[in-house]
């Protein structure tokens, strides 16, 4: 560090506060708007009303969207973990060839623009897409589009989340000394028992972190449900977008945004409390 410590801390404090202010202030602004009264598209009246929140929680359509968002996020998190863990494991422990293949697959997927990836799924799942062509080739007639379903959105979201899961887990699994797995083997544990009794418990912190990241990304998913779910499968971020752009009901859009933020925060806090209590190592 150059100069004296105090000056350095103060200097670093300025950009930190600036960034915090940037985010905090925008959230505060949205929160403020959520208590306003909606007059007509684009026009709102300053107020302190709860009617926007009430509208959200009393309209079945919006509640459905909320449940669906939570549901898809949880399912996608689980699936991306199930697929991502083996990938991460073989990136750390696999033979050089397997390592290269798994890393390339994950990296290329991650580095490709999300729009490109989502459009690729549109093509695969569409009426004349890859899925139908393969099914037809095997003699199974199929011409329905798989788009506009929760399945499509889930597939797209899982595909998006896997690299995040893998990168988080690789760091954690790499830290587990291979001697522990070797020790377990010399004590009579085959690959499965070694995994269940040694590797898995020790990678729990990584699994927790990866699932948290996945879940947060899932909750705020926008492009994936937009392009793969269409009008049939909307998630909370899509509702907020619609309300902002088409209905131009800022107070309601703001309320929905705050609801998304709060529910995500609550789930994160509860999750962390469970994790830190159950984690003894």
């Amino acid at each position: 560090m150059i100069g004296n410590k105090r000056a350095n801390i103060l200097l670093l404090l300025i950009p930190t506060l600036a960034i915090m202010a940037f985010f905090l202030l925008s959230i505060l602004a949205i929160a403020r708007d959520s208590f306003n009264k909606f007059v007509s598209p684009g026009i709102m009246e300053p107020a302190f009303t709860l009617e926007n929140y009430l509208m959200f929680f009393t309209t079945p359509a919006y509640l459905n969207v909320l449940y669906r968002t939570i549901r898809i996020s949880l399912v996608s998190t689980a699936l991306s973990l199930i697929i991502g863990y083996p990938l991460a494991y073989y990136i750390v422990r696999g033979s050089p060839l397997i390592r290269r293949v798994c890393t390339s697959v994950t990296l290329f997927s991650f580095l490709t623009s999300i729009l490109v990836r989502v459009f690729a799924w549109r093509i695969i799942l569409g009426r004349t897409g890859l899925v139908n062509r393969v099914l037809n080739a095997f003699g199974i007639p199929s011409s329905a589009s798989y788009l506009g379903t929760e399945l499509a959105v889930t597939i797209g979201l899982v595909y998006f989340l896997i690299p995040f899961v893998v990168f988080t887990l690789v760091g954690v699994i790499d830290k587990i000394p291979i001697e522990l797995e070797q020790a377990a083997k010399t004590l009579g544990a085959n690959e499965i028992i070694t995994f269940l009794k040694v590797t898995l418990p020790l990678s729990t912190p990584g699994i927790m972190a990866a699932s948290l990241i996945s879940y947060c990304l899932g909750m705020s998913a926008f492009i994936i449900p937009l392009l793969l779910g269409g009008d049939q499968v909307k998630m909370l971020a899509n509702i907020i977008y619609d309300q902002c752009m088409f209905v131009v009901n800022y107070p309601f859009a703001s309320a929905a945004a705050i609801i998304l933020l709060v529910i995500s925060l609550v789930i994160i806090v509860v999750y962390q409390k469970i994790v830190t209590r159950g984690l003894k190592y």
Binding site: Q182, A184, K185, T186, L187, A189
Partner: protein
């Protein structure tokens, strides 16, 4: 308590990619024997141990246990005890759970597991430590837990990979004695890997000296020390002063070797030597006498002390004789640096030059 098994390695070879790790390694370890593989870092000794355990697969060769070929049997079916250099204790389990790990897999009853764990902990003097976690233990205690974990299964073969190298000197000495006593009591065939020749000499029934993936010599500790087969073994074990020279005279009771301008008298060796043959003569520092006045001995030289190191129980002297540096020990402190060094011909060992 089941007696230890016989282990045999036949022509085991292993490559890491293009690099040779070990080549054509063959040896037998007898039931109940304490067998040490000794060598410098990178000589392949840990590779051999891992191959014996089944953690690594050899590229060619066989491993036999009591005559049965176990080369293709996975490590979890061989169940040889293995103590790792950094102990490899499961950090998320207590001492009890660590030691019970292998027993649980064997599906022993709860009572039997408890009995065996307590027995194992008693043998390594760690009764009462059952509920502690590895991170709460000192290095020495962790090492004993690792040992208990391996012997709780009563394996036919016990493998130890430099288990004492992370301990301080005093603890190492204590553990050496404890390990040896424990091994004697259990009668388990033990294969010990180390680069510390003091450990190898003091604990083993036989020592296998390795260098660069090959075996140099397998013998009892005293033979390895007193009758090294080649320069590598002579230099690696104990300390030596070595000189290159030519055989000058072969008589009934001695061999005279010309080293530089001097002659050194050596005892008759069983090696067939020819006149003018190039040889290496070595003398161990502890066999050299140092004195301020002339000594009567087979070999006497005048020299000058150039360095001295106080070691507590004795002093190590570096003495220049002609243009060579000789290491020797003495209890005396010399005033002035002119001294005489001497040793008898039985202390001069001759090795052929390779």
């Amino acid at each position: 308590m089941r007696r230890g098994g016989n282990l045999e390695l036949v022509n085991v070879t292993k490559y890491y990619g293009k690099t040779l790790a070990v080549k054509n390694i063959s040896f037998r370890v007898n039931s109940g024997e304490f067998f040490t593989i000794l060598g410098p870092s990178g000589c392949g000794k840990t590779t051999i141990l891992k191959i014996i355990a089944g953690i690594l697969k050899p590229d060619s060769g066989k491993i036999l246990l009591d005559g049965e070929d176990i080369t293709n049997i996975p490590p979890y079916e061989r169940r040889f005890g293995y103590v790792f250099q950094n102990y490899a204790l499961f950090p998320h389990m207590t001492v009890f759970e660590n030691v019970a790990f292998g027993l649980k897999i064997r599906k022993l009853s709860k009572e039997e597991i408890r009995e065996r764990v307590q027995e194992a902990l008693r043998m390594v003097k760690l009764e009462g430590y059952e509920n502690r976690y590895p991170r709460e233990l000192s290095g020495g205690e962790q090492q004993r837990v690792a040992l208990a974990r391996s012997i709780a299964l009563r394996p036919p073969i016990l493998l130890l990979d430099e288990p004492l190298s992370n301990l301080d000197a005093k603890l190492r000495e204590e553990m050496r004695a404890e390990l040896k006593t424990l091994q004697r009591k259990l009668g388990v065939t033990t294969i010990y890997v180390t680069h510390d020749q003091l450990e190898a000499l003091s604990m083993s029934d036989r020592v296998c000296v390795m260098s660069k993936g090959k075996i140099e010599q397998i013998d009892r500790p005293m033979e390895v020390y007193r009758k090294p087969k080649n320069f590598f073994v002579a230099n690696f074990i104990g300390e030596i002063n070595s000189f290159e020279g030519k055989v000058a005279e072969i008589a009934d009771s001695y061999v005279k070797v010309k080293i530089g301008d001097e002659f050194v008298f050596c005892s008759r060796t069983t090696n067939k030597l020819m006149s003018s043959e190039r040889v290496i003569v070595f003398v161990r520092p502890e066999d050299i006498m140092v004195s301020a006045s002339p000594i009567s001995s087979d070999n006497i030289f005048e020299g000058k002390i150039v360095n001295s190191f106080y070691m507590g129980d004795r002093i190590q002297y570096w003495i220049r004789v002609r243009n060579r540096l000789i290491k020797a020990y003495s209890r005396k402190i010399f005033h002035g640096n002119q001294v005489y060094v001497g040793w008898n011909k039985e202390s001069s060992y001759i090795l052929k030059v390779e």
